[in-house]
Point group: C2
Chain length 408, copies 2
Amino acid sequence: MHNLKNRGCLLTQIEVIAIGDEVLSGFTPNTNAAFISHILFDRGYRIARHTALPDEEDPLLEGLRGALKAQDVVICTGGLGPTVDDVTRGILAKLTDSTLELHEEVKKRLQLRLGLHFPLLDEQSTSPSKATPLHNPMGTAPGLFFQLGKKLLFVLPGVPREMEAIFPEVLRILEAQFPPPPQERGAVLHFFQIAEIDLDTALRAFPKTKVGLYPHLGFVTVRLLGEQVEQARQELSHAFGSRLFASPSGSLEEAVHLACINNKLTLAAAESCTGGGVSERLIRFPGASEFFKGSIVAYSNEIKEKLLAVNPSTLLKYGAVSEETVVEMVRGLLPLMEVDVGVAISGIAGPTGGTLEKPVGTVCFAAMRRGKEPVFSTLRFAGSRAAVIERSINHALAELLKIIILEK
Amino acid sequence: MHNLKNRGCLLTQIEVIAIGDEVLSGFTPNTNAAFISHILFDRGYRIARHTALPDEEDPLLEGLRGALKAQDVVICTGGLGPTVDDVTRGILAKLTDSTLELHEEVKKRLQLRLGLHFPLLDEQSTSPSKATPLHNPMGTAPGLFFQLGKKLLFVLPGVPREMEAIFPEVLRILEAQFPPPPQERGAVLHFFQIAEIDLDTALRAFPKTKVGLYPHLGFVTVRLLGEQVEQARQELSHAFGSRLFASPSGSLEEAVHLACINNKLTLAAAESCTGGGVSERLIRFPGASEFFKGSIVAYSNEIKEKLLAVNPSTLLKYGAVSEETVVEMVRGLLPLMEVDVGVAISGIAGPTGGTLEKPVGTVCFAAMRRGKEPVFSTLRFAGSRAAVIERSINHALAELLKIIILEK
């Protein structure tokens, strides 16, 4: 079996720990670990383990001690807020044989930002004596850095924007003491509307290449490392080239964004069951106003008729979820929004509303370029309401990509 | 310190493990652990630990052995696909002293679904001899259940919709062998547009109540357990009642959904910088068509003028990001969409486009009920483009809630 493995003996062992019942109780997905790991992975580090531990003394102390024993670097998030459910500071003092001390410099900085009467100023300025505070420009709790012999322990706030603001400083300290390994030459490819298994079958011809296949809803990312990377890349590009898309971030919306800007095309969407989700994805990248003009979220039939000029008899005869309706939606959209490219989506996201003929998960799509005929299709997606919506958004983005890339 | 702690000695110890480099490399956030933990938490279970481990024999075996030693129940996700980067099956055989065997029943079921010529049919039908396969209605890899003495080990596919489809069977086996503890009487409250610290300060009057504070972008969830829950709940409702919202799922969109339906109001949005995000949130709950008619995503000024009847001179004089513009947007929206309630949002999400007068993060809002005057405001949000958009969406939803709840 081939894999994106730790290979050398000199790899830095890194564990990322989330502290807090909000993660353990499933209330908050652990996006902090994903953020941290993604950045470290891109620099060439490999992460040995993610852990989430409760806001509770015994298991937290035990988990932190275990991590510090096994790893070179431990990066924790959460548990530093000023509020009554945060206990981490005291536990960190115990863990590092420190006393809790008031940091005058941290207090001064907080006073300057928040005024003299900010409640709990002293609590937020108190940390274990062995900790170096890391400035938090986005919030009140500083990050903490402990140099424990050769090992590094970082403790960052759990609020993502605060953690993200402090993280560059963590990276600076980490890279100074544990430089990242030289990067292996690899390749990352993204394919839309293709099954993981087809890519897998093609890649079996390259047993020396380490392969990572990451299926998403509607597209697959392939990472290649090790030997024969270039040959494997060429084989995939040759076999599935019409489904290959370019996106540094690995997202369909970025691929559409780049394709529109490169081809100087403007775009709009007419969304029913996706309710604005296609548009929201298209504005995630800065500079979207260069190609994206706007959308009509036509959730009700009245809006489909009034704004998109869908014929009431089409709705009556074929229903709102029909290829006839989405074709009229996209035909109405392009002149209304004065754009070059558009997509229309109408479907039954569920959990109710399905019929024998059109079960839940049935979604119709029409994509169109100005001056050409619409391209339409009907798909049946499995899964929850959220999954049907997510897959519909991805399919709509892929349909846009197809008409932009293939109909040049 | 008060907390949502494990208290009894009879609590079932449960660990949720994600297997795979896609989680460890930060490529995929560990939403499976959140899904599983949320359901278990609601049933009264407490989760001892989340872990993510690599697709690699030594650390994976070590991690699984450690978990099985420490816990009563271990639930793994990932590593069961048919593709070349999945190694879990062999490791599970080693872990449980099993041989790998072809399950004829699983193979037959797969053949019925996928045909005789589905590639890798044998691989997907092979599992350790001590495993009981758990039927996967959504995909090809069955889940695996191991009864190891008194301990339970579940291994589920990593694709969320497949894992979610198998999970009810996991819950059935778990509840039969480890019944959940009797639920403590608790309370969950949600407040919008309020600082965590204000809630915290009020809750210090109830030292015997165990408090969990979960800040989100734009709202805070409070969980109360233990003693004096009712008194603490009343105190918070009294002090911050105008900011309290009702939502079983703890989301502003559900609160707006319920408030609209209860008050028989229809709704639409006019979105610029949020690009459809408010609308997409409003259709997440089934039955949205009862109140939500649609939206105009007016990303460009032309669309603001053409569809929402914003005066070109307003855009020229005050700019697209101004209270004057959002007020005209919402005034144009209500008659266009023929709705009772609407909200308009226009802002600078960044990272560029800011000025000295209107820095990045400046966002203007106007909410309006038919026949009343618009309520408008300007906020400055910190953080990344994604954070500004997310906070703008939450603030727009909160503004809608306010005019629906308070202007009755």
